[in-house]
Symmetry: C2
Amino acid sequence: MRRTFAVLVENHPGVLARVAGLFSRRGYNIESLAVSRTDDPTISRMTIVAEGDEAVLEQVAKQLRKLVDVIKVQDVTAEEHVARELGLIKVNADAAARGEIMQIVEIFRAHIVDIGRRTLIIEITGDEEKIDAFEEAMRPFGLREVVRTGKIAMLRGSKTTSVTVKEDE
Amino acid sequence: MRRTFAVLVENHPGVLARVAGLFSRRGYNIESLAVSRTDDPTISRMTIVAEGDEAVLEQVAKQLRKLVDVIKVQDVTAEEHVARELGLIKVNADAAARGEIMQIVEIFRAHIVDIGRRTLIIEITGDEEKIDAFEEAMRPFGLREVVRTGKIAMLRGSKTTSVTVKEDE
């Protein structure tokens, strides 16, 4: 089963290595991870997508909560949430192919962000499936390079993963 | 100085912990990190933003290249590149504030992706400065939650960070 965790951490060196180590020691591969600061620069937020046995991932989540500098761990998988990812895709595009590519870009509401002599860079935002589908639509033209941010997730409505007072205080 | 590294790695458990450990052992905090698969599911790509002494970050990059499962490390900071980040921002929005928020959303070409009774979730894509500016524009309404993917980067034109044949082969 595939799970998505929203994790709030103190923005200190070492916390990322500890979190990543917890997964890898159990042989679990993190499928995607996005880490960046929140509106409070002392706190970072990670969105972790991992696939594995449900009971074991449950254990991993419990152990995450005990790590130094980890403030909050929330499994958002079963909750109503918004999930988004950003991708940059560089595709071969000579003059002949460009028109057809631009049509597909429009259908996906993507954006061309760089035009080279023989290549285009396209920016696309959406859920994972949408970016997968766009990648497949571009593949026949020749994918040169694909970079994706990994998913970020936020609970719908007014519920938050944020903390105003840390839970251990 | 702030540096952006594009790192290609084998999609194996442990590689993320090794990379993160390399930074943290030197007391370097990773400012943002985005890891996701590429068009080749056996290969993942990390975009790492780190701030620190230039000579030391140079050393870190060299040692990254020697890690097991690391295929390629490229410092894109000084190269012509496209950099993008995605943010989700949940903001307080009662009926009275909604119109004003929608105007700002339009100016930033952002999108409302969830409407709750008292909150909105807004999706925004751009460089770091644009997302920072949008966050500041939303702050007076009351930020409930901010999640950002961290930056991803791609060289302009036809140059790539991708490898068709691994460099060590």
